[in-house]
């Protein structure tokens, strides 16, 4: 494949993936899938804990860095009033991991002509973006729910 042709396909792939992630994220928001998690977070977590989660999600290149942060936070929560309360941390980890199948569906549904530029690691990259979207929605809802307390 010629370089110029490859650049065009790479850009088309990026655009298609971005659009699919945005659509999946909006659909989840409409279905209010994360609402109960956000409510539980607003009852148990401090703003700095949510900001910490957001920071890791948006700076890391690994999903396991996000889940490891949550696991360590559960491990520190001796009183079970924060991340460990009613298995909040475990449930968020499960929700993040469950996004893998959605990432695989998104990659499978990409148009065939983009096949030659599909990276074998693409499902993992899409999964990470879906995790970031989920964390973003959770953080927004958390701040909205916490607003009356301020």
């Amino acid at each position: 494949m010629k370089d110029a042709q490859r650049v065009i396909l790479d850009r088309q792939l990026e655009a298609a993936v971005r659009a699919a992630i945005a659509q999946a994220s909006d659909e989840k928001l409409e279905r209010k899938e994360h609402e109960s998690l956000a409510k539980r977070m607003s009852c148990s977590l401090e703003t700095s804990q949510v900001r910490g989660l957001e920071n890791v999600a948006f700076t890391t290149d690994k999903i396991s860095d996000i889940t490891d942060l949550i696991k360590r936070s559960v491990g520190r929560d001796r009183k079970r009033e924060g991340w460990a309360k009613d298995d909040l941390g475990s449930d968020l980890i499960a929700a993040l991991k469950a996004l893998r199948s959605e990432a695989e569906r998104i990659v499978e549904k990409l148009p065939d002509f983009l096949g030659p530029v599909k990276d074998p690691d693409l499902p993992r990259g899409v999964h990470l973006e879906l995790c970031r979207e989920l964390v973003k929605h959770l953080a927004s809802d958390y701040l909205f729910l916490k607003a009356p307390e301020r």
Partner: protein, 157 residues
């Protein structure tokens, strides 16, 4: 140095980072499985959180995997002296896992396109070149292992 040659110099490191990230995500499950195999020890806190945090601190700050292995061996010997067979077995299992991680360093380095000294007669040089790769892999694996273990340590029996 031109920008193009500078970028070219960075290529092996970027490639190694990409391969390491994928390797780390793929091997998270084996770290989780080891912690789950020793779940009882962790839940009952017969393995103290300080030991787990110490293990992770050494791994993240040391310059060689040998120091991590020494820590693990030392903890195993302490458990043996205290007649804590299950704890000793745990450290032995962890040691085996870390050796398995070290064994995978060559494959990862080759997949990432790292230039290594030839095998014939330069085994030491080759091993030294792989030292950094093995340590980076062990850090990733131990981060997963310690995080899952700390979570188990605070879970309800």
């Amino acid at each position: 140095m031109s920008e193009a040659s500078s970028l070219k110099d960075q290529e092996p490191h970027l490639s190694l980072r990409r391969h390491l990230v994928v390797w780390s995500e793929e091997h998270e499950q084996s770290a989780v499985e080891l912690a789950e195999r020793h779940r009882e020890l962790l839940v009952k806190q017969r393995l103290r959180k300080a030991q787990l945090n110490g293990l992770n601190s050494i791994a993240q700050s040391t310059e060689g995997l040998g120091n991590v292995m020494s820590f693990v061996t030392h903890q195993g010997a302490k458990a043996e002296r205290a007649d804590q067979k299950e704890v000793k077995d745990f450290w032995a299992d962890l040691s085996k896992e870390l050796m398995a991680v070290e064994d995978e360093a060559l494959a990862l380095a080759l997949a990432a396109g790292l230039e290594l000294p030839p095998e014939d007669g330069r085994a030491k040089k080759r091993k030294a070149a792989l030292k950094g790769v093995a340590l980076a892999m062990a850090r990733e694996w131990l981060q997963h292992f310690v995080a899952h273990s700390l979570m188990l340590a605070e879970s309800e029996e």
